[in-house]
């Protein structure tokens, strides 16, 4: 693998960029692997990387039904933060945030991790009370978070509509300065490149169509490109988790919904941070290219079409105009949808299953991007050791039976 650096860029620039190596090479599925990861999104690629790097498991493959990173990884608005309410959530999301910080360097790929700060606005006392509760919980959990009053909000993000006359006046906000955004595609490519470099096979256009289970234990999988033998399978397929689950005979606490997002035309920098509002129901950041990146709630219905209904976009934009009336003359450039896997408690599943050797990672819903490194890290550990570590343990499937949910609704009422 050619190392990326300012100097290699300079050198290649002088030679016409002929010397760059592929980030990964297409692999043909081998007849057998030590472990197979289904799903080449952010979480799948991260899982493979950590399996190879930290557990030395390199005879493994990622099988992806389409193009690598073409699922929610390609579609998400990349909001990264770790100021979750519950201990279990703080643990995993903050682990992720710490990993994000050095990830570009570790993977030798600039993932444009921009710690520009995430504001969660409060528009009434109840929201303020909830945010303060969360900030306090964060602080005691060692997670960075602070409260800004209205004046400080206006200073931090001067373009927010601060009029007390508006329908949803801004009375304050929680701020996580180390939160931010990154470049989604780059994250997938970076993990894939690093995993490939460690020997992982990356197989695109390979759809898993069935699981081979013998005596309650996984023995391989069927794909549209043939059968692969393997003692360990990790399903990391986001919106398609139930589909793979069904192949193992499992009904899961997951529903797949469209989640839509949109971008405006590019403009010069105007929004310095990420602004989120539960009450107004929208959030907005600005990409390095200049587009405003905007998202909001899921479509209520179940769907696998990667499309939603336009009224959701209309409401999203109306909501953004409530927060930023100056955006009204800007233009919508593109809107799209992804399929998100929603769990009843708005928390993920990282779990063993009744089928031995079959592991599930899913249910990340509208907010799993930010967890990518930690999710891959924890799942790799689970696959390697067949036991959940402290971070993964609260996210077992059992919690739906025992009632020990990690109900992050309150903390995540707006999709992101």
């Amino acid at each position: 693998m050619t190392r990326y650096s300012f100097w290699s860029l300079l050198r290649e620039g002088l030679r016409g960029h002929d010397g760059w190596q592929p980030v990964w090479r297409e692999a043909e599925p081998k007849p057998a692997y030590d472990a197979v990861i289904i799903g080449g999104g952010g979480h799948g690629c991260a899982t493979a990387y950590y399996l190879a790097k930290e557990h030395g498991l390199t005879n493994i493959a990622i099988v992806e039904k389409g193009w690598l990173g073409g699922g929610n990884a390609a579609r998400n608005t990349t909001i990264i933060r770790s100021n979750y309410l519950y201990d279990a959530s703080a643990a995993i999301y903050d682990h992720a945030l710490q990993l994000w910080k050095g990830l570009g360097r570790e993977l030798n790929f600039n993932i444009m991790m921009s710690h520009r700060g995430v504001l969660n606005l409060a528009h009434d006392d109840n929201e303020m009370r909830q945010l303060k509760r969360r900030i306090e919980a964060n602080r005691l959990n060692g997670v960075e978070a602070e409260w800004l009053d209205a004046k400080q909000v206006a200073e931090y993000c001067p373009i927010i509509n601060m009029s007390p006359q508006s329908r949803y006046p801004v009375i304050g906000a929680s701020l996580q300065r180390s939160g931010g955004v990154n470049r989604h595609d780059a994250v997938v490519w970076a993990y894939a490149r690093a995993a490939h470099d460690l020997g992982v096979d990356i197989i695109q256009n390979c759809e898993v169509t069935g699981l081979k289970i013998e005596a309650g234990r996984i023995s391989g999988l069927e794909t549209n490109r043939g059968t692969i033998r393997t003692p360990k399978v990790a399903s990391v397929v986001a919106g398609h988790t139930s589909v793979i689950g069904a192949m193992a005979g499992l009904r899961l606490p997951i529903e797949s919904h469209p989640l839509q997002a949109l971008v405006s035309e590019p403009i010069k920098p105007v929004n310095p941070c990420v602004v989120m509002s539960n009450a107004v129901h929208a959030y907005c950041s600005q990409s390095d290219k200049g587009e405003l990146v905007i998202g909001a709630g899921i479509d209520a219905h179940l769907s696998y079409t990667q499309r939603g209904a336009f009224p959701v976009i209309e409401e999203e934009i109306a909501a953004v105009l409530e927060l930023f009336p100056i955006f009204s003359r800007l233009k919508l450039m593109r809107h799209w949808g992804g399929i998100v896997d929603i769990c009843p408690d708005a928390s993920p599943i990282i779990s063993k299953t009744p089928v031995k050797g079959f592991y599930l990672n899913g249910g990340w819903g509208t907010g799993g991007w930010k967890a990518t490194p930690a999710s891959g890290h924890a799942l790799a550990d689970l696959v390697a050791r067949d036991e959940p570590n402290a971070i993964a343990a609260p996210y077992s499937l059992e919690r739906f039976t025992t009632g020990k949910l990690v109900a992050e609704h309150g903390a995540a009422a707006v999709a992101h």
Binding site: E136, R183, D288
Partner: protein, 1011 residues
């Protein structure tokens, strides 16, 4: 006309086109003034004055001119207007219509269009290929934070607006039988035929005028149904205009094609008008059309060729040059070269020649252009080079000359020859405009002969016709239009003639379309120097696509994302297919196997304003007010929003602050009479012989024995066992109940009841109807409330002995019907008085007047919150957050064992039944003056630990209690019910934890015991 502009308008012909030469219009661009005519676009008017260079590209800041003549143009982006509230950035000069006083400015350049420092990016381009940023700036965590602002500032196009938009926008919903999109010959014919059946037809045309290519081509000897094309167009438009069932929309783009033939149309109502003429029209309108049948007649888009130096101002699509000529009467150059791989483009040479331009050369990449064309070229004295390509171009802000050379599969073969020119018309063939067809879910197919993607299978009720379907011949467009218009009307249930002959012959002025694709053309220059642009806006070159493939980003979606091809404001309208063509060459894979990237809405950028419509500002979300609202306003209330309701929160008197007012109000309620506007509580009338058993299944507590005349408090849980609403329900008669819910939960609860009734227990005889707003509610409470009540009621005995707690009565107040509930949320004797809402204000005024002798004092929601906290009552949404069971809240007494209810089974799950769950308790701080901030976390010890401190709970409500004259708080604490009297600590940022003692939740009970 000033001398300067007279000289500059040199390229305007003195006749032809749709511009009105009797209506000159002055406008300015980049600070200089110009003149154009009514009917011009900014692009045509600037071209008329010889201006080509109007913009800078996204990344390398290269000069950009007009490649196209419509919405497909990728480069000529300008800012229109200078007022920070009304300026619009990233407008396509090719679409901006002129009006008097229009001001336009270049953007993405500094300090000026001509001298732009951003050009350093261009000079550095070797080091800034696609995705260069992924390979560098990876120092320690802070390093990207250092570089990012520079990248951000260099990127983006226009500046962000800085003041709120004064314009209005709106939506328009429409249903029609046939929606025709595009008004070229195909669309016009389809719309006319469909409309003749009596069906409702909407014809949407993006441009300011209908006609499509008819407006952009010379008429020659073309005929449509026996008429000259423009005359035919006039007739059809007149017929459509006269039909009341036809809606003809110009300046209206179909922007999105969604499920079940729901199509959005974006109408520009006033952007083309000077502000003084806009009247009351909205600026933009978003039509939301549900069509039984959709006819896509969106035409085709010409694409350029990919060769070194193909991006200079003065390089123009061959068809755009004809459009400027025939539609706007503008000759885009006086010395032109035509460069193409198909026969169609040759027409530009002949038309420009006829308009007086010199044609320096026609260059065709094919060895075998149409013989008829070659003869005509010879006749016109135009030099032709076949099997040749342009290997380089010259000219800084505008093309000056080109180098042409012969080539074959191995590359350039001949010696380049330089030819001077001021206009280079390029054509790489035509791509049917399939964006909407693809959005509709239809599949595409690569057609080898057309070298383009064409609509394949439709998935909705939609038909593509004309150039959009790959039928490039005029006769085909018209006959398919006629046929499709008729079928569409018939499919929608209308009678349309199957056989009516058309009036006469249709024939083209053009030769049959023939193209031989040449996706990437060679140059004799060293590879490192070649820059053949594919995406003109985002500055993606063919080399970038090669790099993408070399690095493994060869899948079309990867290539798009790695290089940003087609991700600009034009969304690759012109260049999409070229990129695929180049990829196909590099990968040596057929184009059909490479496929297209996903077409997503909108087809063209549409304003946020239009998308939001009227639903912004004061009309964003409704604000609901009670019948007593005016009184609250008149009496200085400050408000809070609860759900969508505005509720009076406190009534500060002159000189009083919030806290003082609050304390006064609460003291009054404890010592005299307080009155609260409780109208917003949800109310549901429930009736039927099974109403009782229904309630028994809905509420966690028992309802079978509640007697008429009595009330009961109840909790509702979801199937997960978690509390989601509470309230008091009164039994009016054995089969008749009046339920109340929380303010915010009213709609949800009614929905919940209906859902369970209709889907789980339809056998139960019960009906429910919302009566929330039928009743205005004033709740009086306090020791003197019975006296006031006695004064008030005509026919209800108010004595608490005979009208006891948790009962209700119906009667009158001054003849006005009233329902009165003896329920209390404060611990004081209370009467919740319901009157028909139209009497609400009267009731309130009456209470204030009659209550004077008893010291009546209105209290707001804040007082209500405080008073109930003193009594230890919960507020759903404040004490609860969807994770608490009745048991957690200390209301195990409200959980019946006798029968099932929604959520019951969940309460006994192993983790739900644990007794170390968070449980509701009271807290008293050691320092009675210290009011704990709500939301504070509770820890066990008096010192925080590092790196993390375990939390055992948090504070949900906290006040200074006027009754106890000390602070009180409600909190959720792990295993709290078993920890009475224990000392815990409240953590604080930047200060020591505060000690407090766990108590019961009813602080008044403690008071009573003490006294």
């Amino acid at each position: 006309m000033s001398r300067q502009s007279a000289r500059r308008a040199q390229n305007r012909l003195d006749h032809g086109g749709l511009v009105d030469r009797t209506r000159p219009i002055s406008f300015s661009f980049d600070g200089k003034s110009y003149q154009g005519f009514a009917g011009d676009t900014l692009a045509s008017a600037l071209l008329a004055s010889g201006v080509h260079h109007v913009a800078r590209s996204f990344k390398y800041h290269r000069p950009r001119g007009f490649l196209g003549a419509g919405p497909e143009d990728p480069g000529a982006l300008v800012r229109v207007g200078s007022d920070p509230a009304t300026m619009v950035v990233n407008q396509r000069a090719t679409e901006v219509e002129l009006f008097d006083g229009l001001e336009a400015f270049p953007q993405n350049c500094w300090p000026s269009l001509r001298l732009d420092f951003g050009v350093v990016n261009d000079l550095m381009h070797r080091f800034l290929p696609a995705g260069f940023y992924y390979k560098t700036f990876m120092g320690p965590p802070g390093s990207w934070m250092f570089f990012e602002p520079f990248i951000r500032r260099a990127a983006g196009l226009g500046p962000a607006p800085s003041a709120p938009d004064p314009a209005r926008y709106e939506h328009m919903n429409r249903h029609c039988e046939v929606l025709v999109i595009g008004s070229g010959p195909a669309g016009l014919a389809a719309a006319r035929e469909a409309a003749r059946s009596g069906a409702r037809v909407i014809l949407a045309e993006e441009s300011a005028a209908c006609g499509g290519r008819l407006l952009g081509e010379a008429e020659g000897d073309a005929l449509i149904e026996g008429m000259a094309p423009r005359a035919w167009r006039g007739d059809v438009l007149a017929e459509l205009a006269a039909n009341p069932e036809v809606t003809l929309l110009t300046r209206t783009s179909a922007s999105g094609y969604y499920s079940q033939n729901w199509v959005t149309l974006f109408e520009n109502c006033t952007d083309h008008l000077p502000p003084s003429e806009a009247g009351h029209l909205p600026r933009h309108r978003l039509w939301r059309v549900r069509a039984a049948q959709v006819v896509l007649a969106t035409g085709a888009i010409e694409r350029p060729l990919v060769f070194h130096g193909n991006d200079r101002p003065g390089v123009m699509l061959a068809s755009a040059a004809r459009t400027y000529l025939h539609r706007y009467g503008v000759r885009a150059g006086s010395n032109a070269v035509i460069f193409a791989n198909n026969d169609d483009a040759w027409r530009s040479a002949f038309d420009l020649h006829d308009a007086g331009a010199h044609i320096a050369a026609i260059i065709d990449t094919r060895p075998d252009p149409a013989a008829a064309h070659r003869e005509a070229a010879e006749a016109h004295g135009i030099g032709v080079r076949t099997g040749a390509t342009i290997v380089a171009t010259q000219g800084r802000g505008h093309i000056r000359s080109i180098d042409v050379a012969a080539f074959d599969a191995g590359g350039v073969t001949g010696k380049p020859e330089r030819i001077a020119c001021d206009l280079l018309c390029v054509s790489g063939g035509w791509s049917p405009n399939v964006a909407l067809f693809s959005q509709s879910g239809g599949s595409l197919r690569y057609d080898e002969t057309l070298a383009a993607f064409v609509p394949d299978e439709a998935r909705q009720e939609v038909v593509a016709i004309g150039a959009c379907a790959g039928d490039f011949a005029l006769a085909e467009a018209v006959s398919r239009g006629v046929e499709t218009g008729r079928t569409a009307a018939r499919e929608a249930g209308f009678v349309a003639s199957a056989t009516d002959p058309v009036a006469g012959e249709t024939r083209d002025a053009a030769l049959p379309y023939r193209v031989t694709p040449a996706w990437e053309l060679p140059s004799n220059l060293p590879k490192t120097r070649i820059r053949a642009f594919v995406d003109y806006q985002n500055d993606v070159t063919a080399k970038d696509l090669h790099l993408a493939v070399r690095e493994g980003y060869g899948a079309v979606e990867h290539a798009k994302r790695y290089t940003t091809t087609g991700m600009g404001t034009d969304q690759g309208k012109i260049v999409g297919v070229n990129a695929i063509g180049v990829l196909s060459g590099v990968l040596d894979k057929p184009i059909g196997e490479i496929g297209v990237t996903t077409y997503r809405p909108p087809w063209r950028p549409i304003s946020f304003g239009a998308v939001a419509g009227q639903h912004v500002g004061g009309l964003f979300h409704p604000r609901r007010t009670t019948a007593m609202h005016d009184w609250h306003v008149e009496n200085g209330a400050v408000f809070e929003t609860v759900g969508d309701w505005l509720r009076a929160r406190v009534y500060p008197q002159p000189g009083e602050d919030f806290e003082a007012a609050l304390q006064r109000e609460c003291r009054a309620a404890r010592n005299a009479v307080g009155v609260l506007d409780a109208s917003t509580l949800g109310k549901i009338d429930i009736r039927g012989k099974d109403a009782r058993s229904f309630l028994n299944r809905i509420y966690t507590n028992a309802w079978m024995k509640l007697e008429p005349g009595r009330c009961r408090y109840g909790l509702m849980t979801n199937e997960d066992g978690m509390v989601f609403d509470d309230g008091v329900t009164a039994c009016l008669a054995d089969d008749h109940f009046h339920m109340t819910t929380t303010t915010g939960g009213a709609a949800r609860v009614l929905g919940w009841l209906e859902e369970y009734h209709q889907t789980e227990w339809p056998d139960l005889e019960v009906y429910m109807t919302s009566v929330t707003e039928q009743w205005a509610v004033a709740s009086i409470c306090g020791p003197r409330a019975p006296e006031l009540a006695a004064d008030l009621f005509d026919d209800i005995d108010a004595d608490p002995e005979r009208f006891p707690f948790m009962s209700h009565a119906s009667g009158h107040i001054d003849g006005v019907p009233a329902r009165v509930f003896r329920i209390s949320f404060t611990g004081e004797v209370s009467y919740e008085i319901n009157v028909p809402a139209s009497y609400g204000l009267w009731l309130w005024r009456t209470l204030m007047e009659r209550g004077k002798p008893y010291g009546i004092t209105p209290y707001g929601t804040e007082g209500m919150h405080l008073l109930r906290a003193e009594k230890g009552f919960i507020i759903v949404g404040q004490e609860t957050d969807g994770t608490l069971t009745p048991v957690d809240l200390g209301m195990g007494w409200a959980v019946k064992q006798s029968a099932d209810f929604i959520g019951k089974r969940s309460l006994t799950r192993s983790d739900t039944a644990r007794d170390d769950r968070l449980q509701l308790v009271g807290l008293l701080t050691a320092d009675p003056g210290f009011v704990i901030p709500e939301g504070s976390q509770i820890i066990a010890s008096g010192r925080e630990q590092s790196p993390r401190t375990p939390m055992i709970g948090h504070v949900t409500s906290s006040y200074f209690s006027p009754t106890l004259e000390r602070s009180i708080a409600l909190a959720l604490i792990a295993g709290g019910h078993g920890r009475m009297g224990e000392r815990i600590h409240v953590a604080r940022r930047g200060a020591d934890p505060v000690p407090a003692t766990i108590t019961g939740t009813d602080f008044l009970a403690g008071l009573k015991e003490a006294s």
